[in-house]
Structures are given as structure tokens and as C-alpha cells.
């Protein structure tokens, strides 16, 4: 099976192959195939729309984890200019599971901070599959404080299967690294826009997620635990992950209607990986719009609004 297609995309793949085959025939011979190609392309679009209009939660999780899905760096490269990568927690480690730096988003200077998964095997290992260490979280915090000092808004990209579970991570106090980010983000005096671009899983996701706005790409997911983890604990079987995915209400449309996120950023037909440029352009528009709204608030107003927002989650009486 091609890496480009997920299991539920098989009919799409078959049609895609047919179109490609026809194109080859058209090049190699005199047969006029253009009309048939147009017809098949229309059919493909209808089919794709149909498949993507009734995705299950489990299928959306698969899309969120698609190996070709754009990662933080892909967006940073497309959204920003003058990107200056900034490394390290200043104590122990470079923290490559998080990609971060200063950049310009059109006219606006921003601090970009996001979980970074790897594309090649070597990069996957170097990036620890997007599972951040305490050092990477502390690097993120250092840069948020830096941004605060120079009045620079923070844009975060959330894409992680969770914080790294390991011996060193525990020795270096993974819990505290996450907790400290939550507390400092809650009181940071510059705007924070958080974008869930792929996997928003557990505390490792939230460690970049306490902001003024939560945007979520259409086929990203955001959950307290992975569907597999949830299934093996509550259903005592990882095979029940699809049911758990449904029960966890982790999709963007469910979370929007529950009031836990602010905006769904629509993805290109077939998902973000089918057209990363279009995806990045749409996301950029959304981020710029949110930053513009937030930039008119003074610092006290901003922090108070963020505080009220975070106190209201799960307590509707407060909002």
C-alpha cells in the first residue's frame, strides 16, 4: 500500500492511479484521453468529497498522524520570513523535539514555537517523534519569556503524541516542566495563539496550549490521552481504539461545539498533506486575524481575559 493513502482512501487511490495511467497513455500514444481525464477528475473530486464528508474519529486520528502531513517547520517555512531558529534550555539540552525561533509574519514579529516530528528515520530519532523532553519544554518557556520582554506575540504549533516517557525525562522532572509552562503561559503579557496542527495529545500538547485562542486544523485531534492508551486502560484492549476515539470527542467539530476550541481551520480537500501551500495560506490568514484582534487589548485586559477563559473551561457558570 502506498504511504500516500490511508486505508479508507483506497477508492481514491484506485481512481488516482487510473488517471495517472491515462495520462501516461496520452503521452505515449496518439489516443486523445483528455476528455476522459476531465471526467475522471470530476469523479475523483466527488468521491473524495464523499469519503471526507463522513470520516470517523478514528480516521481523523489517522489523518492527523499521516506521515506526509505538514509539521511545524513546514508551516514556519511557508508562513514566515526571516526565521531565526533559537535553540536550547540554557542548562542541559538543545531540545530538538520543539522547533522554535523569531520570525516575521508579514509585518508582525512573532515567536514561533511548535512540536517537531521527523520526516526521515534519522530526523525522527533526533526529534524523538515529537515527544518533548523537559529540556525542550524549558526551551519553549525561555523563548516565551524572551518574547514577553520584547513585546512579541507567541504563536504555537501543537503536534505531539505526548510528552516523552523515559527515565531521564522523569529524573529531569517532566511534570514540573509541563506544569511551569502552563503557569507561565497563563500570565504571559503578550498574545498567545495556539494552533493544533496534527496530534494534540495529553499534557505534552497542553504545555504549548495555554493561550488566548485555540485554532485547530480540521483533521487534527486534541485529547487528554491517545485513543490507544484510553482503549487499553478503559476497554482493556488497544483494539478498541476506534471506539475510544469516538468517545473521547477529540475531533475539531466536536470540540468547537463543546466550546473547548475557538476556530476550525479548514483543510484542503483530502487533508493538509494534499496541498501544504494552500493549508499554510489558510492558516496564516487565521493567525493574522487572531493576532490583530488580540493586539488591540492592553496587557492587563489580555491576561485577565485569558485567565477568565481558562477558569471557565468545564465550569460554564463562570463564562
Amino acid at each position: 500500500m502506498s504511504l500516500d493513502y490511508l486505508d479508507f482512501e483506497q477508492p481514491i487511490m484506485m481512481l488516482d492511479e487510473k488517471i495517472n495511467e491515462l495520462k501516461r497513455v496520452g503521452v505515449d500514444t496518439d489516443v486523445n484521453v483528455s476528455e476522459e481525464i476531465v471526467r475522471l477528475k470530476e469523479k475523483l473530486e466527488t468521491l473524495t468529497r464523499d469519503v471526507f464528508s463522513k470520516l470517523t474519529a478514528a480516521e481523523i486520528v489517522k489523518l492527523a498522524r499521516h506521515p506526509k502531513r505538514p509539521y511545524t517547520k513546514d508551516y514556519a517555512d511557508r508562513l514566515c520570513t526571516d526565521f531565526q531558529e533559537l535553540h536550547g534550555d540554557r542548562h542541559k539540552d538543545q531540545g530538538q523535539e520543539i522547533y522554535s525561533g523569531l520570525a516575521r509574519l508579514e509585518e508582525q514579529v512573532v515567536m514561533v514555537i511548535g512540536h517537531q516530528k521527523g520526516r526521515t528515520t534519522a530526523e525522527k530519532v533526533r526529534r524523538n517523534f515529537g515527544m518533548a523532553s523537559p529540556e525542550a519544554f524549558r526551551k519553549a518557556l525561555r523563548l516565551m519569556k524572551l518574547a514577553e520582554r520584547f513585546d512579541i506575540p507567541v504563536v504555537t504549533f501543537i503536534d505531539t503524541p505526548g510528552a516523552y516517557p523515559g527515565i531521564t525525562a522523569e529524573e529531569c522532572n517532566q511534570s514540573e516542566a509541563i506544569a511551569r509552562n502552563l503557569l507561565e503561559m497563563a500570565q504571559l503579557t503578550v498574545p498567545i495563539v495556539c494552533c493544533v496542527i496534527g496530534e494534540g495529545c495529553s499534557g505534552g500538547a497542553l504545555a504549548l496550549g495555554v493561550g488566548d485562542r485555540t485554532l485547530m486544523l480540521q483533521y487534527a485531534y486534541y485529547s487528554v490521552i491517545s485513543p490507544e492508551g484510553c482503549a487499553s486502560i478503559l476497554w482493556k484492549s488497544a483494539d478498541k481504539a476506534a471506539i475510544a476515539a469516538e468517545a473521547l470527542n477529540l475531533t475539531s467539530d466536536r470540540l468547537l461545539s463543546l466550546g473547548l476550541i475557538d476556530t476550525i481551520v479548514p483543510e484542503p480537500l483530502g487533508g493538509a498533506h494534499r496541498d501544504p501551500d494552500l493549508m499554510a495560506a489558510t492558516l496564516k490568514e487565521h493567525i493574522i486575524r487572531e493576532l490583530a484582534e488580540l493586539s488591540i487589548m492592553d496587557k492587563t485586559e489580555l491576561v485577565n481575559a485569558r485567565y477568565a477563559r481558562w477558569l471557565s473551561y468545564g465550569s460554564p457558570d463562570r463564562s
Binding site: 523515559g166 529524573e171 511534570s175 506544569a179 497563563a186 485529547s223 473551561y313
Partner: protein, 281 residues
């Protein structure tokens, strides 16, 4: 609670429950059979091996607070099944069951009161209530406690014992980590102390939010404290974990906590620390 059992190492796993009624108690630390009344006098610490047994939230607060002037806060805030969650059981039924079992309405009990005549607000987790997991109602009770401290200008002390997030509330539960941290940012700004006491076990979303944000963090001896459960770590790294991993003594050695305090000394220690921290007020 098999998911929590799996989170715990063998020694304390299978037979460790809230202290059973009856004349005799078996210690999970050394397996000795102990006379209940004697153990009770010893604050449910094993008289043979000093193993700290689990306390209910009310026992905890009862040992800690002065008798006069106690007032429970946030009792009216109870769990809501936002997602109509159902696994092998309905969440709604799990809640009813937990309420029957513990006689509590949620996994966190908050009380305003005094410790050695110093006013404060204290909160304690009830582990027998769905593993002391953090629901939206738990988060709200935590916020109510912190807001009380802010209003009265008094310290806040929290005793944690929790498996972490409450999965049945999914993102609502995860966001309570942000909520509890946010409310503590206000306490810090007001220069009011937050003392976090970690007891067995303090894991996951609780450990990775308010529990590790104490101005002072204390732990009872040999408590299991960490972000990821030992089982998850073992599966990830495919290695056996070293002896004493994620125990209080390990955390002290690695600089994560201020001190380990025996249960009988907790009240005196905290009262003393608070009186020093509050000296200027």
C-alpha cells in the same frame, strides 16, 4: 481500578486499598498484620516498617486542620458527564458507584480552617473516587480553594493523591491542568504561599500541573510520584526500571521536591513553614 493498579508496582498493587474496616489491617509494605486501633493511633503508618498507608481525603484534612473553625467549600460542585461517556461502563454509573463507595461527591475535598491557629485553606484528594482523577468539578473545587485564599489573604495547602486526568471527561479534564495552573499564578502574584504535599500516588495530569507548582513541595516517604506511569515507561524504553524509581526519595535526590516528611510531622512542619513564609503579613 485496574488501570491504576497497573500503574503501580507489584508490592503496593494488588492488595492496596483504602484502609479496610475491621479489627486488623494488613500492611502493604511489610505484610504484617496489625491491630487497627494501634495503626489508627499512628495515623495509618505501619508501626513495624513505617509504610504510609493511603488516607481518605477527610482523614487527611482531619489530621491536618485544627478542630475549630472548619468549613467545607465547593461541596455543591459535582461531576458532570459532559460527553455522555461510556466505555465498558457508563461514566454516569461510575460516578454513582464512586459516590456510594466513598460517600463523597467528588475526588477533591476543600476546607477552610486553621493550622495551629493560622488561617488557611486546605484541599485533599480522595483516591477511592475514580483514582482521585481530575474532572472539571475537581478543577473547579481547586479554583474555589485558591480563590478563597486570594480573598482572605491566606495560604493554600493541597494534599495530592491521584492517577491523573479523568479520561471520561477528555479535553475538559486536560484543560483543568491549565485552569489550576492559572489560578496559582494569581496566588503567586498576591504573594500567598501554595504548599503542595505529594502522597502515594501522584501521577500524570495532577503531577504535571498544580502538584509540582508548590512554593514548597513536600512528599510522604516512598510515595510514587511522576508524569508517566512506570508501565508506560517500561514499554517505551524496553528496560526494567531501577529500584526506587519515581519514589519520593528519587525525587528528593533529583531536586524535584523540598523535603520528605513523615506523616506524624507534616502538620508541625507545614505550620512552621507557613508562619515563616507569612512573617511579613
Amino acid at each position: 481500578m485496574s488501570w491504576l493498579k497497573r500503574l503501580l508496582p507489584k508490592v503496593s498493587g494488588s492488595n492496596k486499598k483504602a484502609i479496610p474496616d475491621g479489627l486488623w489491617v494488613q500492611c502493604s509494605g511489610c505484610s504484617a498484620t496489625l491491630y487497627r486501633a494501634e495503626v489508627e493511633r499512628n495515623l495509618f503508618v505501619c508501626t513495624k516498617c513505617q509504610y504510609h498507608m493511603r488516607l481518605s481525603a477527610r482523614q487527611r484534612l482531619d489530621y491536618f486542620l485544627d478542630e475549630e473553625g472548619r468549613e467545607e467549600l465547593g461541596a455543591g460542585v459535582t461531576a458532570v458527564d459532559h460527553l455522555k461517556f461510556k466505555d465498558s461502563k457508563k461514566y454516569k454509573d461510575r460516578l454513582t458507584q464512586a459516590q456510594k463507595k466513598t460517600n463523597e461527591t467528588e475526588a477533591l475535598i476543600v476546607m477552610a480552617g486553621q493550622v495551629k491557629a493560622q488561617p488557611l485553606v486546605a484541599a485533599a484528594f480522595e483516591f477511592s473516587f475514580i483514582g482521585g482523577s481530575m474532572s472539571a468539578a475537581v478543577g473547579e473545587r481547586f479554583a474555589i480553594a485558591a480563590e478563597y485564599a486570594l480573598r482572605k489573604g491566606c495560604p493554600f495547602v493541597c494534599f495530592a493523591t491521584s492517577g491523573g486526568a479523568r479520561m471520561q471527561e477528555s479535553l475538559f479534564s486536560l484543560f483543568q491542568m491549565g485552569k489550576s495552573a492559572a489560578v496559582l499564578s494569581r496566588l503567586a502574584k498576591a504573594k500567598l504561599p501554595f504548599i503542595s504535599v505529594l502522597t502515594d500516588p501522584t501521577m500524570g495530569g495532577v503531577s504535571a500541573s498544580f502538584a509540582t507548582l508548590g512554593d514548597i513541595i513536600l512528599a510522604e516517604p516512598k510515595a510514587l510520584i511522576g508524569f508517566s506511569g512506570p508501565r508506560v515507561i517500561e514499554q517505551t524504553i524496553r528496560q526494567t526500571l531501577p529500584e526506587g524509581f519515581q519514589r519520593s526519595e528519587f525525587l528528593l535526590k533529583h531536586g524535584a521536591i523540598d523535603n520528605i516528611v513523615h506523616r506524624r510531622d507534616l502538620k508541625d512542619t507545614i505550620a512552621n513553614m507557613l508562619s515563616m513564609l507569612m512573617h511579613a503579613k
